[in-house]
């Protein structure tokens, strides 16, 4: 099956700093989503981005499907940005089934 790798596994930031999270995948995809998992476990949708670039406030994402990677940018980080960020992809042959990466655990210090 498709492989999804996220880097870095852990990230410690000072409040106000910028950061980039990366997601590499091993095969062509129909769908790619970025999630933020809050401390209670809920996966919050950040971006639905099979290709191209999107922005939402301080967050933006870019997916280059032909090169099989996606990037999530966090600008001017806040303590509320802490948590685990997951990239999940739907392989072209998978039919609406997401395969998740291992996540990037982010801690933003005040």
């Amino acid at each position: 099956g498709i492989q999804v790798e996220q880097s870095p596994p852990d990230l410690i930031l000072q409040e106000g700093a910028n950061s980039t999270l990366r997601c590499n995948f091993s095969d062509s995809v129909n769908n790619l989503q970025w999630f933020h998992q809050n401390p209670w476990g809920q996966l919050i949708n950040l971006f639905y981005i099979p290709s191209g670039t999107k922005q939402n406030g301080r967050l933006s994402a870019t997916t280059v499907a032909t090169e099989r990677y996606s990037l999530l940018y966090i600008s001017s980080s806040q303590t509320t940005d802490s948590g685990v960020y997951f990239c999940a992809v739907e392989a072209s042959t998978a039919g609406n089934k997401l395969t998740f990466g291992g996540g990037t655990r982010v801690l933003v210090k005040p």
Partner: protein, 113 residues
Amino acid sequence: DAGVTQSPTHLIKTRGQQVTLRCSPKSGHDTVSWYQQALGQGPQFIFQYYEEEERQRGNFPDRFSGHQFPNYSSELNVNALLLGDSALYLCASSRGANTGELFFGEGSRLTVL
């Protein structure tokens, strides 16, 4: 617009028991998928239900079964519970079974003692 809702939020069972978890999809969605998330890991796909049938299944034993009702809600059943079944069980809904954005509920946290 109600999002994906799951119940119960927490539950504790003992080895060998059976458990049923419930999920109501987001309004307008007809497809429900279930995921298992062990501590410190990413969610793993269990199965997907569309038109009241299991359409896809991940690498989980037959002890894991499900059902989808005519109103698109779904249940996940796990029989003969093992300690290793302790996890967060997440339900996701989407429109259609082919592709599209998935939305997740808050999860049901199962502890098996």
